[in-house]
């Protein structure tokens, strides 16, 4: 879940969240549900809906999520992309990486530059700031690049 400040964060919202905002009226708080990559809107939930019966919202959204692709626009290429994750095109096959908060994600590595690493997760390329990785993970990436 992502907290977005309506006064300062609108411009930084991904396209899917901006599209969901258009379905959500003008009253805050509101909730946007997007694909995992943020590219597509799944549902915008207005304050009125939240206020009227939050259980209905929960029930209806859960049902809807069973029918949609939550991964994102490139998920149709997952099979090809998954194969690519293990190919020579990747700097690294999928392995665990840890961020500075101790959270771990499993991702292949496609590219590394001075400030970010491009992870590949379930076929989706995700740029990730090097500064947010743990020292150990940054070191492992450095060794990977120097190989």
């Amino acid at each position: 879940m992502v907290f977005a400040n309506s006064k300062t964060d609108y411009q930084d919202l991904p396209a899917g969240a901006k599209a969901a905002q258009k379905q959500s009226g003008n009253t805050i708080p509101m909730v946007f549900v997007t694909t995992a990559d943020g590219s597509e809107s799944i549902r915008g939930i207005s304050y009125d809906k939240l206020k009227n019966d939050i259980r209905d919202v929960d029930r209806e959204l859960r049902k809807h999520l069973e029918t949609v692709d939550v991964i994102g626009s490139s998920s149709g290429e997952t099979e090809v992309a998954d194969a690519a994750e293990t190919s020579d095109a990747m700097l690294s096959e999928a392995r665990a990486w840890t961020n500075s908060d101790g959270k771990t994600i499993t991702a292949a590595v496609k590219a590394v530059n001075d400030t970010s690493v491009t992870f590949v997760i379930n076929g989706n390329e995700v740029p990730y700031p090097l500064a947010n990785l743990s020292a150990d993970s940054r070191m492992a990436l450095k060794e990977l690049v120097n190989q």
């Binding site: 907290f3 977005a4 909730v31 943020g38 991964i71 994600i105 991702a107 990730y128």
Partner: protein, 58 residues
């Protein structure tokens, strides 16, 4: 099941946000951490859920 738990977590947190209470749980990402949120959502095969509000609203 994961989707349901995620959604219930979001909905349960709304009253805090709506009251302008800034005690955001550590499991909640801010917009500065959006790439981390995407990475986790993709790995978990879950949707991204945004709570959009003005934290100064009482």
């Amino acid at each position: 099941m994961k989707k349901s738990l995620l959604l219930l977590g979001v909905l349960a947190s709304l009253p805090l946000v709506a009251k302008g209470d800034m005690r955001i749980p550590s499991s909640v990402y801010t917009m500065e951490e959006i790439e981390e949120a995407k990475a986790e959502a993709l790995e978990e095969e879950e949707p991204l859920i945004f709570v959009y509000t003005d934290p100064g609203t009482s």
